[in-house]
Structure formats: C-alpha cells, structure tokens
C-alpha cells in the first residue's frame, strides 16, 4: 500500500507546531517529511483545497465491546467507525467481558488491534474485575501496553482505593481516569429537574457528579498526583475543575459531544438513545460545558462511544442500557462549536488531537517532521444527513440519526495508509 503522498493546498492546522497556513504537506514512507525533503517524481497527490489538514484525532474514551460483547461492536468494527469519524487512535475502556485487568486481556486486545484501521490504546482497570476492592496489576498491564487505568462505568466508591490508585499509578506513569459518580445518589435514569418531573422518570441530581469530582480533586491535591475526570456534564463540575486547576492541582478533564450539543429536553419522547450516564443535563449546564471547552477548563473532547444493540435499547426507558455511539458524529458536532464561535479551529484540534494524545502519553497529535503520518483531512463545509445506512459502527444507538450535520473527515490516514476516504 502506498505510504508516500503529497497533500496539496490544504490548510494545515497543527497547534503543536504553532502552524496554521495553507501549504502542501509531504508524507514520505508513512512519516511526515521535513522541510529539506522533496517529493519523489510521480508522487501520488491528494487535492486538499478547501480542507483542513490536521493531526489524526485521538478519542481517549471509547467502548469497543471486545472481548465479550462482539454483537454490539468489536475492535475492528469500532476502529473502522473511528477512521470514518477522522480518528486515528482510540483508547478503549476495560469494561469488557472479561475485564481488561491483566496482561492476558491486554495482549488479546493489542493482538487484534494489529489488524485495526486505527491505533488502539487499551485502558486497564483501576480495580480487579472493576469490583472496587483490590488494585489491578498496573505494572504488568503497563508492560503489556495499557496507557491509562479506569473503572469507567463503575464509579470507585471507596475513597481509600481511589487514593491508592492515584498514588500507585504514578509509579508507572499511568493516567487515572475517573468515572465520577456518587452511586447512592444516582439510581435515576435522566437528569433530575423539570424534565424528569414532567416525564415521571427518576432523576439523577447534578450533585451526584460534583461530589465525586470534588473527591478526586481533593485526593489529587493531597497526594500531588494526576487525575483525569471523564465525561464532565455539569456546570458545577466545570467550576470545581477550573478552580482546582487555578491552584495547581494536577487535574484534567474531558467532555463528550452530546453534553455540549443536547440537553435533557431531548428525552421528551422517551427515546432510549437519549439515555446515557451521566445524563443529558440542563441548558445552563450545556452552556457551562461549552464555556469550559473554550477557556481551557476541559482538556479534551472524547466520545464515550458506547455501542448497544436493539436488545438493550428497544425497551422501556427505565430498562434500557446507558450510552450512545459517537465516533462518527464527534467531529461534525465539534465543528458546530467553531461555526458558532465558541472555540476556534486551533482549539478544536487541541481538544480532539493534541491534548488527548498528550494525556495518554502517546506519540500522536502533531505534524512534526519525522512523526508517523497520522493525518485527518476535514472538509468543514461538507454537509450530510447521518442515516442508518451510513453508520459504520455495528450499533445504531445514536440520537443524531437523521440529522443534517456539517463538516466531516473526508480522509483519514494512519502511517501514511489511507483508512477512510470520501475523496474521489
């Protein structure tokens, strides 16, 4: 497969190298070429006129369901969905069956990932079996290739265990990703407020999230260790993170596209594709999340891509599973923030490419000469209606089906190999 390309006339947005200009980008043998290197004769050209050329995007929070629930998604199908969405790397959460809490599971995931369309970075479990009792073996998992640890989907109830996880993960340079949720407050199925009252659905208060976000900040502050907050959904969480950062606490955070796009109003028809955890919040929360993306409080946009089949979703709202797929819609939804003036193009690339790679400590998110050529071409004007037939993921659980979206990845390249293209 050809790995040498001349990408012509694109707008290169590469915040890591402080670049935003229209020029050509040469890729030689799967790597970004240096300024002194020249294109070979008869080099294959890609016309990127009107497109942005950015470092390949990294999604630091996805569920690929393999091993164990391959009927929802598997590593290869999830990776194809990622490539279609402009991602060249994804970090997959450990809540598989079995749980990724040991070398054997990590090895299996990485063996499969060798055939995948994008890079797959396994996240190991904080606790053995996600049971919240014993630390998992971080040293062994790190050696096998995990990039972070998380009990995502299962909040760590025991504060002592969380403290030990932050401390011990530091020995191995592993980021601890917290699913911040106070379980005793969160037996509901949607945000608690006027909408849950109107629909007669049990609510989850915003306090369920803020309490745990504050616990993680307090532990990170006390131990001096790093913590990363997953899928921030509330204004109060954003405030807590902002003030913690201001006093030097080593806290970072991500949010998901649905939290800056939708609100609890979307639940009105009991569509189970609006059910996720944390839940869609109020308009004021959404506004605060957008502000936090702009001002640096939130470091990354991650999808929390959570495939479920109709078996888990065509049910009563109370009985349906939490979660939606997101890999294929994240970029268009984030581009809407740029059009609406919430963030600029550079910030978009930081949130989707530069920062997630840096948080995971992986070599991506930059178009610096010599780097592996993981590159995404974005056509910010290209409109499309996201129909069921277009979905690349094995699952269809998304509230964005049928919506007209603007802007998408028209080409995704990993190591100079084209993994997805809409160019003719």
């Amino acid at each position: 497969m050809n790995t040498t390309w001349l990408i012509k006339n694109g707008r290169i947005i590469d915040p890591a190298n402080n670049t935003d200009q229209i020029r050509d980008l040469l890729i030689l043998d799967g790597c970004i070429a240096g300024p002194d290197q020249t294109a070979p004769q008869n080099v294959a050209e890609i016309d990127a006129s009107g497109c942005w050329v950015v470092p390949g995007l990294t999604d630091m929070h996805v569920h690929l369901r393999e091993p164990g629930e391959e009927y929802k998604e598997d590593i290869l199908s999830g990776a194809r969905a990622a490539a279609a969405g402009g991602f060249t790397g994804v970090a997959c959460m450990p809540n598989t069956k079995p749980v990724n809490d040991c070398r054997a599971v990590t090895d299996m995931i990485l063996a499969r990932a060798g055939q995948a369309a994008v890079r797959v970075y396994p996240v190991g479990a904080i606790s053995q079996g996600l049971e919240g009792k014993q630390l998992a073996e971080y040293g062994e998992m790190r050696a096998a290739g995990v990039v972070a640890v998380s009990d995502d989907g299962h909040p760590v109830r025991d504060s002592q265990l969380m403290r030990r996880a932050l401390e011990y993960a530091g020995n191995f340079g592993l980021l601890v990703i917290s699913h911040s949720e106070e379980a005793s407050l969160s037996s509901g199925v949607m945000n608690e407020g006027a909408m849950s009252t109107r629909l007669g659905l049990k609510g989850i208060p915003t306090a369920a999230e803020s309490i745990m976000v504050y616990r993680e900040i307090a532990l990170a502050e006390f131990t001096g260790k790093k913590v990363h907050i997953a899928h921030v959904s509330t204004a109060m969480s954003a405030d807590l993170i902002r003030s913690a950062k201001a006093r030097g606490v080593r806290v970072t955070a991500e949010t998901a596209p649905h939290y800056f796009t939708l609100t609890e109003e979307a639940v009105a028809g009991y569509d189970t594709n609006t059910k996720m955890n944390p839940p869609l919040r109020s308009a004021a929360d959404r506004e605060a999340i957008r502000l936090a993306l702009a001002d640096g409080t939130l470091d990354a946009i991650a999808t929390d891509h959570a495939p479920h089949s109709v078996l888990e979703k065509e049910l009563e709202f109370d009985a349906a599973a939490n979660g939606i797929i997101g890999l294929e819609t994240a970029l268009p939804l984030a581009l809407a923030l740029v059009r609406e003036g919430v963030i600029d193009e550079k910030r978009l690339v930081e949130l989707l490419a530069v920062n997630p790679a840096a948080l995971l400590g992986v070599a991506a998110g930059s178009l610096h000469p010599g780097m592996r050529a993981d590159v995404t071409l974005i056509d910010p004007a290209r409109e499309f209606i996201y129909t069921e037939e277009q979905v690349v993921s094995k699952s269809r659980n998304t509230p964005f089906l049928g919506m007209r979206l603007q802007g998408r990845a028209v080409l995704t390249m990993m190591d100079g190999r084209i993994r997805h293209t809409l160019l003719t």
Partner: protein, 310 residues
C-alpha cells in the same frame, strides 16, 4: 359545543396531550354515559364486536375492574393479561408482547406499566388504540378525568377553584395528571407534603408548592390526598407512617381550614388513619365513592372516543 370540534386522538397517553376542549368533550361524553350504569339492564351495543385487551404489567384492582366494567357495559369483548414482570425481564420484551397481541387485531389496548413512557413505546408498535391506565410516576389520565368529572358535578365548574393535593407528589402519577389537568381547566393546584416527596421543579407544571399544610388547605375547594408509602427501594423518604399521619394527615380540624363545602378526594386505596382520619374519609365532604362511580363513565367515554366516535 364549538362547531368544527372533533376528537382527534388515536391514543390516550396522557393529560398533557389533551386540550381543554378535548377534556370538556370527554367529560360531556362521560356525563351522558352515566345514565347507562343506572339502568336495570346496564348494557348498550355501542362497541359490540370490538376487542379490548387489558394489559396490566402492574397489579391493579380498581382501575382494571373499572375499565372492564366500562368495556362490558358497551358490549366490547375484553381480555385481561397480567404478564408478570419477571417473565418479561427474562425473555419477552414489551415490544415482543405488543407485536404478539397486535397480531390478534385488538381494537384497544389498555396498558398499565411501572415504567414511565411504556404506553408511548407500545403505541409506536401496535395498530390498536392505546389507553394509558397508569405509567410509572408519569400519568394516569383516566383517573384525572374522573376526578375532574367529580369536581365538576359538585362545583358546577372547573375554573377558579383551589385544589390542594397533599402527600407523595413525587411518585404519584395521579398527582402529576391532576396538576396538569386542573391547571388546564383553569383551577390553581397547591401541593404540600414532606419535602422528600415533592419533585424538583414541580412548579413548572403549574403547581404552587406550599410551605405548610395550613397554606395548602386554607380556603381550598378540593382537598385531595394520595396514598403514602414509607420507603421505596431503600430510599429513606419518611421516618414512620405514624409521624406522617400527625404532620401531614388530614384530620377534621385540618379540614376545617378549607371551605365549608370543600370536597375530600382520594384515588384509593386509602391507608385509613394515615392520609385521612377515618371520620374525614367517611364524612359528609368525602366524594371518594363518587370518584369510583364516575370512573366507569369516564372510561366508557374514552373507549368510545378512541374508536373514532364523537
């Protein structure tokens, strides 16, 4: 009746979807049907040949019986199914059940379910008209309509009244539908109860949240109480029923704050001595049994109207 009005609802999912004109029309229709239940031969052929399925996922005595009596008085064929929740969680989903029932071509499915929104889900997967007989903590439209009819009969109007609803507002679909329904018809609903049982932002449905029992009951035209449960799924809502009855129960002395002709209502079943003292429950102001009688008439009207009659 305004010319040009016609009842256009295929399903009765909630009071929220009904306009004041719809509600008035249902009440008028129900009122005209009351006489049938007073005849020596309590049967009309109106729904002869129609198949009505009572699909009750949650135990119910009075609502199911009331719907069944209503259907039979109109000569419909009725069938009762009470799938146990355990069997549905093990295998058959609500949609599977719905499709199976739908394949037998029923005309109306009356559904009660512990999950809010279940009738809405059902209505998207069957050809029959769907009537919500109570979904979770969401709506109980036929109960609201029979309450409206009962108040209308006694007060002559549904506008400008003070309606006090006391008790567990959070878990009560009756409270929810009544707040929406009485507000739509021009009355003002006041709610009061333990703060653990007042749902967040209930004022956005039109209710006034009171800070004392006095404030709620004083000069009320209607005092409605709701069945109370001490605990739900380990959620510590109340210290004890004894304390509830002392702090929030309607006794004769509390009722004296209301208008002298105030109505006492309860959707049943009553915890005697908890929500209402026995002398109030059985007293001259109680219209609890009128509610039950009107329930049959209202449900006859709903079955009649969803079948496209006007």
């Amino acid at each position: 009746m305004a010319t040009g009005y016609f009842f256009s609802h295929r399903h009765i999912l909630g009071i929220e979807q009904l306009s004041p004109e719809d509600i008035s029309h249902i009440l008028r229709t129900a009122d005209s049907f009351k006489e049938i239940s007073a005849r020596p031969i309590k049967k009309v052929p109106t729904l002869r040949g129609h198949t009505i399925i009572n699909l009750f996922f949650e135990p119910s005595t009075r609502t199911r019986l009331s719907f069944e009596v209503a259907a039979k008085r109109m000569s419909a064929d009725t069938f009762n199914i009470s799938p146990s929740t355990s069997s549905t969680t093990k295998g058959e989903t609500l949609i599977d059940t719905a499709r199976n029932i739908s394949a037998m071509h029923p005309d109306i499915i009356i559904i009660r379910h512990s999950c809010s929104g279940a009738p809405h889900l059902l209505s998207r997967h069957v050809n029959a008209a769907v009537v919500n007989a109570g979904d979770g903590a969401h709506e109980h439209p036929s109960q609201c309509l029979l309450d409206l009819l009962t108040v209308k009969e006694h007060k002559g109007t549904l506008s400008g009244l003070k309606i006090a609803i006391i008790g567990d507002i959070s878990h009560s679909r009756v409270a929810h539908s009544n707040i929406v329904g009485f507000t739509k018809m021009g009355s003002q609903v006041y709610v009061y109860g333990p703060a653990t049982l007042i749902p967040r932002d209930i004022d956005q449905l039109g209710a006034v949240v009171c800070s004392s029992l006095d404030e709620a009951v004083r000069d009320a035209d209607v005092v409605m109480t709701l069945r109370i449960q001490k605990e739900r799924q380990n959620d510590p809502l109340l210290p004890s029923l004894r304390e509830y009855s002392r702090q929030f129960g309607i006794s004769r002395s509390v009722l004296a704050l209301a208008r002298p002709d105030a109505l006492v209502m309860h959707p049943g079943p009553v915890n005697r001595g908890v929500e209402l003292s026995p002398d109030v429950a059985d007293g001259p102001q109680s219209v609890i049994l009128d509610q039950v009688t009107n329930g049959v008439a209202v449900r006859m009207a709903l079955l009649y109207l969803v079948m496209g009659n006007t």
